[in-house]
Amino acid sequence: MKPIQSLLLALVCALLFGVNGFSQSTPQAFTGAQIIPISGEPINNGVLIIEDGKITAVGNENTRIPRGADVHDMSGKVIMPGLVDTHSHIGDGDGGDRSATLHPDVRIMDSINPRSESFKRALAGGITSVNVMPGSGHLMSGQTVYLKLRKANTIEDMLIYLDDEKTIYGGLKMANGTNPRGNPPSPGTRAKAASMVRDLYIKAQEYKAKVAAADGDESKMPPRDIGMETLVEVLEGKRIVHNHTHTHQDILTTIRLAEEFGYRLVLQHVSEAWKVADEIAASSNVVGSSIITLDSFGGKVEAKDIRNSNGKYLEDAGELVGFHTDDGITDSRLFLRSAAMGVREGMSREAALEAVTIANAVMMDIDERVGSFEEGKDADLIILNGDPFSVYTHVEQTWIEGQKVWDRTNEEDRKYATGGYQIYPGQIHSHHEEGGLK
């Protein structure tokens, strides 16, 4: 090729591929690192190939590196899938208001600020997919949203769609125990709370039956009810219920309701899981348990018996278990710490690693796309400078769908990891003040 042609080609390339610095079609090869694929044993001196935002190969040092690939020497580093958080309050969103305690119609999607600094906090902690939920001050505070933390101008840029029609991109938040209790319209007791939920699901069953009876005939369809439509998605198993629950009896009530109506359930927090781990594992309606790590028990009566060994108890019972940040209860920047504390309390390394990746992906119905390094999955990965469970390890880079979205060597990014002057606006989601009804 003549020099002038090369120059022109380079110019065209630069124009085409713009600010990203490399072509989406140029394969990226990461070599030299310990690769933790989650889908298999860690690979020392492994090779990870990504292209067009997808993983195309993962293997040992003999893995073929495509011609023309950008090769990143990651010797001494650890590479694992981007972390998945099943319960967070980043994004400055909200849910239902004081007018009711059951809000199946409300979407947190309609309130989230895609420019929120809190998303940077999550990227700094290696989180790439997240279930952002409205609070626990209602029996049903609204629809949750599954987000990929891509560079985004609009919330639509971040959504993870679960269906081809792009109508479902989250679960449904429910809560029991003391948080949703209060004066009417809130329930005043546990039994009242359960009866209100049952009543609503019975209405949803009737709505579903009417839709089925119409058999596609528009004139026979019931009037559109967006709350009912959401609950039908739940009853049909297309939308998972994420149920905030702490004490052992509340956990069992949560399961009882899911079994009565046949919906799929993720238990959230599950502070007393250690008391009923076998009962949790025995229910086929429970997709998994999403637990939190806390530096002490207490802070509320319901959390007086919480144990950081919940992960071990659930693992031993054969139950799918994941960790969540509940950011701002725990900090997204330290999400790996939650899993490490599970190991401290007896969980296996393998289960703890899964509990921040593939297990959480399963609990969000996105495990075919994220949560492990397998050919065809999204190229979401994090690069660490040491063991994932060491306090001394930092997340160095976070990649989403083949794009580097956070880099600790870049001062503009690094500051979101350490904190400092005028980096965060100071608004942290506080459960203490949440709950539209209190």
Binding site: V301, V391, G419, Y424, P425
Partner: protein
């Protein structure tokens, strides 16, 4: 009983007593961080009658046969939480167990921590189980002066049993962290005006106390007079840089001893803090970046340490979950953000003891000091390391 028999019985009882309740202990560690010199590989700590008897390498220290032997991978002095509210702020977080903040008046220096401390509170045990053997606790942030603090070991059935100091500091708060329950202050400037007025009153009270004049005793004024005389220290919880400067202005006007607490924006005014010689009880490394602490950095501990400012770690006050933090964990995150492991261990032990003025008793493993020891199965600061044993005053408490 005849005199002769009694005479024989007494020494027999004494002998039995000294062997049964004052068991002597030897702690062996693959690494022993004494905080008085370099770490010792294969070290031994001998404990007798609740005090440290001898510390040294296993090759030099013989363990007497009647000593109970414990072994650990890593041995450190008992850890020190330099500012907490455990024992006053109970774990259930209901009205009945929250005694860290009285909201009837924004200035109440007369409130003593010893009158509220619950030695059996579950969170005290929680800290103890994490190797924390000494805690500086008491009234919390949220009032201009919320009350007094105390220093205690983290064991004992009553507050008196292992108290080190009954009224160490007065808890001040400046900035936006003052409870909304008070009708005033409503602004920063009003807060300082109220504090100045109260301290001027205390100066006059102190003059009277030091004269031969009769005066009627006032508990609050007594505490502030003690502060002005240097018998107590102001523990000023403050985060924003301009509020820290207000604290300094107040201290310089009245000349009382002061320790800065929290100080999220300390990195903006390191020189101002250092040149005046203040010590800092740094906010938890994992503090949420919100409210007055929104500009907190995980690297502040390292920056202050490098500048030569004396620092200690705190669990601080938590209004929700978790109800207390754990300085062992906060130290780990500080270590990973520039401070380093050995410095962090030093801050957790001897530096904290010096800052609190209790280094004659705790903070290092040296002969004659209290036998407070933490044992670990690895690097104490690592997430996956467990505390395998805790000894307080020569007694195995975990």
């Amino acid at each position: 009983m005849r005199t002769l028999k009694s005479l024989i019985l007494i020494p027999a009882l004494l002998l039995a007593f000294s062997f049964s309740t004052e068991a002597q202990i030897a702690v062996k560690g693959e690494t022993v961080y004494t905080m008085a010199g370099n770490p010792i590989s294969n070290g031994v700590v001998l404990i007798k009658d609740g005090k440290i008897e001898r510390v040294g390498s296993a090759s030099r220290v013989n363990i007497p046969s009647n000593y109970e032997v414990y072994e650990a991978k890593v041995v450190t002095p008992g850890l020190i939480d330099a500012h907490s509210v455990v024992g006053l702020a109970g774990h259930l977080n209901v009205d009945a167990d929250q005694d860290q903040l009285e909201t009837s008046n924004p200035i109440q220096p007369e409130l003593r921590a010893i009158d509220a401390y619950n030695a059996r509170e579950a969170l005290v045990g929680h800290l103890r189980d994490h190797g924390i053997t000494t805690v500086h606790t008491g009234h919390g942030p949220g009032a201009l002066i919320s009350g007094q603090t105390m220093i205690t070991k983290t064991t004992g059935k009553t507050v008196d049993e292992n108290l080190i100091h009954p009224s160490k500091m007065l808890a001040f708060t400046l900035g936006n962290n003052i409870s909304g329950a008070f009708s005033k202050p409503g602004t920063r400037a009003k807060a300082i005006a109220m504090m100045r007025q109260e301290l001027i009153k205390a100066q006059a009270y102190l003059d009277k106390r030091n004269s031969d004049e009769d005066y009627s005793k006032d508990l609050g004024m007594e505490a502030l007079a003690d502060l002005l005389e240097g018998k107590m220290t102001a523990l000023v919880t403050v985060h924003r840089a301009h509020d820290i400067m207000s604290a300094i202005r107040l201290q310089e006007e009245f000349g009382f001893p002061m320790v800065l607490d929290g100080v999220a924006e300390a990195y903006l005014i390191i020189d101002e803090i250092k040149e005046r010689g203040y010590s800092v009880i740094i906010h938890p490394s994992m503090i949420r970046p919100g409210g007055d602490a929104k500009n907190a950095s995980m690297e502040t501990a390292a920056k202050l340490y490098e500048a030569g400012i004396p620092i200690a770690f705190q669990s601080g006050f938590e209004g929700y979950v978790p109800k207390t933090r754990v300085v062992l964990f906060e130290a780990g995150v500080a270590a990973a953000n520039g401070l380093g492991m050995e410095n962090a261990l030093k801050v957790l032990t001897i530096d904290a003891a010096e800052l609190l003025g209790i280094d004659d008793r705790v903070g290092s493993l040296e002969a004659g000091k209290d036998a407070d020891i933490a044992m670990f199965d690895g690097d104490p600061l690592e997430y996956i390391t467990n505390v395998t044993g805790v000894i307080i005053n020569g007694e195995k408490v975990k």
